[in-house]
Point group: C2
Chain length 144, copies 2
């Protein structure tokens, strides 16, 4: 199973934000949309960085109230680790586990075509494993 299969299920909707928006504005966006991270893009749609709930909390811990007015350019993670639609779910789970990241933007021919969370990847991987298990169990039972 590859990343494309996840996007077929969840759709290719990605919320993006400009680097000059404030941390407070980003907090409102992620709360309203019930998402954990946003891709930061310039006005030509090029990916500049990623910001997550964790980045907001860390900024507050460091800068206090002042964090809320800071542009998200100052707190975003950059450069961004991305993946392509053809990569396997197994591979991206390894990347997310190793790098300790929860969200991976999906890029095809320089265009942002979706975003995959560790939750999406895990649920697809568990389904895939279940399917493999079922096949092998059938074989094992049939040959008893």
């Amino acid at each position: 199973m590859n990343v494309e299969a996840i996007l077929r299920t969840k759709g290719g909707n990605v919320f993006t934000i400009r680097p000059e928006h404030s941390v407070a504005e980003m907090a409102t966006l992620v709360s309203n949309k019930r998402i954990g991270a946003v891709v930061v893009c310039d006005d030509k749609g090029r990916i500049l960085g990623m910001v997550s709930e964790r980045d907001i909390v860390r900024a507050i811990a460091v800068y206090g109230k002042g964090a809320l007015e800071m542009p998200i350019r100052n707190i975003m993670t950059s450069p961004v680790v991305t993946c392509s639609p053809t990569e396997t779910v197994k591979k991206i789970l390894e990347v997310m586990t190793e790098r300790r990241i929860r969200h991976l933007p999906v890029v095809e021919k320089d265009h942002l075509v979706g975003i995959v969370s560790i939750g999406d990847a895990v649920s697809h991987r568990l389904e895939e494993r279940q399917a493999e298990l079922d096949v092998l169990r059938d074989i094992a039972v049939a040959r008893k």
Copy 2:
């Protein structure tokens, strides 16, 4: 595999906080400890609630700067869904997926003995599945 097996690997360390501490103090705690959620306890160690990074972000979206001085009592989730050390990893993954929660405090005889994240549960479950797969694959191959 059960919850106890996860705690044996990661240890039973749980960070707790009192309900009268501020959101800003909690932001500092979770940032310093690199954790995503904290259990809120009274002075007798009884569990009153849970607070996560997401709760902080939501409070900022609703209350702005004022959120940082609020006591976490006002933003915590309560009552708390918990699990016991004897529950299976499969079961708690179902609970976390259904209820859309990322952290589950582990309680034994009214005492908090650990905390399990969806990441912990998933990595154990994948290992467990791999072991099942290996056994079944051996059987299938042996019977070819």
